[in-house]
Symmetry: C2
Subunit: 353 residues, 2 copies
Amino acid sequence: MTDLDLSLDAAALTVVLCDIESVSGNEGPLADAVEAALRSLPHLSVDRDGDTVVARTALGRAERVVLAGHLDTVPLGDNLPCRVEDGRIHGCGTTDMKSGVAVALRVAALLPSPNRDVTYVFYDHEEVEAEKNGLGRVARNNPHWLAGDFAVLMEPTGATVEGGCQGTLRADVVLRGHRSHSARSWMGSNAVHAAGEVLTRLAGHRADEVEIDGLVYREGLNAVGITGGVAGNVIPDECRVTVNYRFAPSKSEEEAAAVVRRVLDGYRVEVSDTAPGALPGLSHPSAAAFVEMVGREPQPKFGWTDVSRFSALGVPAVNYGPGDPSVAHQREEYCDIAPILECEQKMLGWLGA
Amino acid sequence: MTDLDLSLDAAALTVVLCDIESVSGNEGPLADAVEAALRSLPHLSVDRDGDTVVARTALGRAERVVLAGHLDTVPLGDNLPCRVEDGRIHGCGTTDMKSGVAVALRVAALLPSPNRDVTYVFYDHEEVEAEKNGLGRVARNNPHWLAGDFAVLMEPTGATVEGGCQGTLRADVVLRGHRSHSARSWMGSNAVHAAGEVLTRLAGHRADEVEIDGLVYREGLNAVGITGGVAGNVIPDECRVTVNYRFAPSKSEEEAAAVVRRVLDGYRVEVSDTAPGALPGLSHPSAAAFVEMVGREPQPKFGWTDVSRFSALGVPAVNYGPGDPSVAHQREEYCDIAPILECEQKMLGWLGA
């Protein structure tokens, strides 16, 4: 097992963490190293569930914050071990999100007596099917491990606070018709033609822009797929439009479904999948102080992230991490050293003051 | 090899022909029997190409008519040997189209000196891919075998003349957009949404009704398929609408393509496949006499049939046969005996008078 030297700065620690390969499903060795390093810190109590490691201070502070990051990465692209060049670390996991994990580990090591109680969560299986997600598993098995007043998910945000996340809903709009031979099309009823009005409504729909805590969540209601047709000489009797609605976190899943049904009133809408958004929680004093401390204009998070799991547990959460999200999941993934050190300093300042 | 007894009436002969199984690709035994039976008739000269048998009188008549029928059937459905019950023959090939073949064979046998020269064509591979079609093969290899002033394709029409056939054109309408994550849909351009206008135009298009020789060909321009979408969280960058246009036989393939391009003006239309229609040719004296002889109101043929192959060779052609087209290709396929005998009598009367 690799010994993690938490006296390294967060950038150097990022390199060490990345070089312990941990593609989803193979987080064990890295989780072992993280657990051992945290157990060596007497101010923390440590729990483990599968390859998720949770460590906590218990100082009786008025507030508790959760710092969380996933240990796994997408599959390698011939991009390990890391290569450091011109102030940039190249390699799998550098931006998404071992640089964020390194920052959290540094806070754990350097602040035996933080000004807020802190829970550190390092979890497995974020980059694969949602049902395998380690954070979700802990939320089911041991939700009290995740209790807190405010959470920071250290996903790549370019060192800006990205607040909450939007919800997502997927539905199928099913159009029915009657088959006939296309040489006698008037004997049938064309289900694909019937989809024209559905697409026109979607194209014409003006999505909401919802301001919450000063962040503007721009929604989107889109067809993400369409399929219909039996054969080249048959009038189609079914057409299916798959719709994805990304909705502001102030809406519930039920409210989101109602929006889709209202826009597509008169059509058969089958909701197949929903996930709630997460409120940014920036009006929470702790979050407001956090944004103030970061010193950059906070942004809304549009894509769905695990902050919504905290939100579902009643814990306001933001995304904040040193990586550039646009290079995640790429062979050319990298992370600049400067924002890693900036995040490290800011987190230490915020919790150590 | 089964000896065909052409002294049987056309209904009894239908049973014999059906009981020689001849699913497409296995026409050999039936073609052998047909060839042998025709060679035994001294007034005919017989040619063969693969499993297509062509026999001709050479009496120097002013006109030549072609009687044609395919020997193959769709796959069996546990519906052979034939079963005769209450004036109806049940079994594979009864309606489509061995009853028509039986009528033509009876004419060949009973009329050594018809009032018009007659060419009899019995061909293979009609029920499968067009490139295997025996009539098409003969049209390429030996077009002079098919020469004539008028052709009767003895496909099932319920003993009514169905004139010509419509043409068919298939095209893809390709819509392009730009991908983006569906959580930031405004960064992309949704190709599926763009298809809405295409479908609306198709749904609103008023298809022509074209009268030719007293028959009204009702056209149809339809989406027969649509596909688009990358993933549930991606704004689609491509959508493809497959369109089928069934057009009156007075239009050329080029004119048909122009209609589609005009309706879908501004969109990228990729024509993938066309087949010309066939004019009914009912103004031809021979055809007019034929319709008069049949004594029923002629109808337009909407679906594409092999009459268009005759049309392409400059031979006006009609469909006329005893079977009911609506039971073709079904396990419950049958043919009533009465229309078989009616067709036999009418054909004998027409060519024997």
